[in-house]
């Protein structure tokens, strides 16, 4: 199944992205990808885009191996629409369905930088969703370290004690909050945006790993701001333990 054909949907931010991928991030390719950026309702373009890439790629539904969808965190309404579409397609085509964390998809877009990675999305109310990743080993994907955090950019910045490459659409709004921290290297948010192709590659890995598909109960990831303190506490404890 290393060469599996995946239809992927990513709607965690203000844009909708759909892709057809073959194989995994390390040994795969993007067959088609359509990303719609304007602030249009997700629903208005999503299914039309799915149909377009299927038609353009001259592929039938029966040729797909699985459907992959972003679990978020992100815009809850956007995620629900993407997930409703993914579930409908999976049920109609009799395909397995896999959920992938939006931040993991973003992390996969970064070339190995030899330092830790911090990925962030805007969580509104002056907060971000963030996660840390170990620098990718040669031939491997970046590995997430710990829970997804929901906190203010300042809190996130205070957690950084080693050279860090910071990426993601969260920087569109909060770039300035990190400018003063000399350990942080910022990557233009225009470069790293949610892409369905990454969700497809990571979905292919779940399929190859024999992960069970449980489409019925799949739901968007909640990272509540109220949980921020708990998650932060966990991270601090984990960091202390690893030292």
């Amino acid at each position: 199944m290393a060469d599996s054909l995946i239809l992927a949907i990513e709607t965690s931010t203000g844009c909708g992205s759909v892709a057809l991928t073959r194989g995994t991030l390390q040994q795969g390719r993007v067959l088609a990808e359509y990303t719609h950026r304007p602030d249009l309702s997700h629903s208005r373009r999503l299914l039309g885009s799915v149909r377009e890439i299927m038609t353009a790629s001259r592929l039938g539904w029966d040729q797909l191996d699985a459907v992959a969808v972003s679990l978020g965190p992100g815009s809850f309404t956007g995620l629900r629409i993407g997930m409703a579409a993914a579930k409908g397609i999976a049920m109609a085509a009799g395909l397995p369905l896999f959920g992938v964390t939006s931040l993991d998809g973003l992390a996969c877009q970064c070339p190995p930088a030899g330092c830790q990675l911090c990925v962030l999305l805007d969580a509104r109310k002056e907060q971000v969703y963030g996660a840390f990743y170990d620098a990718a080993a040669p031939g491997g994907n970046p590995q997430r370290r710990g829970e997804i955090l929901g906190c203010t950019p300042e809190e996130l910045s205070r957690l950084i004690s080693e050279p860090t490459l910071m990426v993601g659409p969260g920087l569109e709004v909060y770039q300035e909050s990190f400018a003063a921290n000399p350990l942080i290297t910022l990557v233009s948010p225009a470069l790293i945006q949610p892409r369905a192709a990454m969700i497809g590659f990571l979905g292919a890995e779940l399929l190859a790993a024999g992960t069970e598909s449980t489409p019925a109960g799949l739901a968007p990831l909640y990272v509540r701001a109220s949980e921020a303190e708990i998650n932060l506490a966990k991270k601090k404890a984990a960091d202390a333990a690893s030292r």
């Binding site: 629903s43 039309g48 149909r51 409703a84 579409a85 409908g88 739901a219």
Partner: protein, 335 residues
């Protein structure tokens, strides 16, 4: 033709399988049903509308299973397109469109109000067109002139609270829990509907609009006064008198609407249509006026997929279809 219908406009996720040719309901499943919770792991969500995305798959599966139908046999998909919470509607509507797209099936978007207007057509004894429809629930109280399966014009609607909402709010006031509409009706059975004269909002001689906010306030003032005086509340009498005020206005205006339309048939729809006092007084009024009354069973009164299947089937025959990029809407063009 077998129709699969999906409804997710408010709290419940619902699905139904309907045989269009025979006009029979093969399955009608609602997410608050026990079967679904068993399938869902026994979790009863605090607020169902939060859970449409987790409910949609099990509810559709359960409907197909109960009907003994596989997805391969379904020939038409119908889904509620509006009105309601767009975030909730989009779960059912997008799921439905995706099913149709992959399966190469036609898909129809239905107005939730049309479902309630037509719901009495799900029964053996169904009204012929034209008829006057009263749709009355927690969210709506409206009168329609129904010319055909796809043509309806609104004659009146609530200017503030819906009738069902007034029941719920009075229940809250009397500390009977929320939603407490059914509790109020049950307690009213032991009360005297003439014990207290609560106001009826007629809104002008010929108006077919409704208003229940003033009635709610009148009940509140009555209760506050008694509480201030430290007098005991005759809960059953308050419930009965309140219910009488709501029902009397509903019955009178519905009969007036039928008369204005020169209709000989009245149909009810919506959750409050299963209120026993409303059914009784409406029947009496219809008998007096020489009108025929059609009321669906309670399962077709509350939000359900069967009515969306039926409305979808009619809309399909009238040539309506959705495009893949069509959006859900929050306000009904009918209301």
């Amino acid at each position: 033709m077998l129709i699969l219908a999906i409804e997710s406009s408010c709290d419940d996720t619902a699905a139904a399988v309907f045989d269009g040719k025979e006009e029979t309901v093969l399955a009608n499943v609602v997410s608050s049903q026990n079967e679904i919770h068993a399938r869902f792991g026994g979790i009863v969500p605090e607020l169902a509308s939060r859970c449409h995305i987790e409910m949609i798959w099990p509810v559709v599966r359960e409907a197909l299973d109960q009907a003994g139908v596989s997805l391969d046999e379904v020939q038409l998909i119908s889904a509620t397109q509006g009105p309601g919470l767009v975030g909730s509607l989009l779960v059912g509507f997008t799921f439905a469109k995706s099913l149709a797209m992959v399966r190469g099936l036609p898909c129809v978007g239905v107005d939730h109000m049309a479902g309630h207007i037509l719901s009495s057509m799900l029964e053996q004894e169904r009204p012929e067109y034209p008829y006057t429809a009263l749709t009355v629930s927690g969210g709506n109280t409206s009168l329609f002139s129904v010319a055909s399966a796809v043509e309806y014009s609104r004659m009146g609607r609530t200017r503030d609270d819906a009738a069902g909402e007034a029941f719920d709010k009075v229940a809250k006031l009397l500390e009977l829990g929320y939603p407490g509409g059914p509790v109020v009706s049950r307690l009213a059975e032991d009360g005297d509907p003439k014990a207290i004269t609560f106001p009826r909002a007629w809104l002008g001689k010929d108006s077919l609009d409704f208003s229940f906010s003033g009635l709610k306030t009148a009940v509140m003032n009555y209760v506050h006064k008694l509480r201030q005086k430290g007098e005991p509340l005759k809960i059953a009498d308050i419930c009965a008198s309140f219910q009488e005020a709501v029902v009397e206005v509903l019955v009178t205006k519905t009969v007036n609407a039928a008369r204005a339309n020169s209709h000989t048939r009245i149909a009810l729809g919506g959750g409050v249509a299963s209120n026993q006092r409303l059914r009784t007084l409406m029947q009496q009024a219809c008998d007096r006026e020489g009108l025929s009354l059609f009321v669906p069973r309670p399962a077709y009164c509350t939000d359900n997929g069967a009515m969306i299947a039926l409305a979808g089937w009619y809309h399909y025959q009238a040539g309506r279809r959705v495009e893949w990029d069509d959006d859900a809407y929050s306000r009904s063009p009918l209301n």
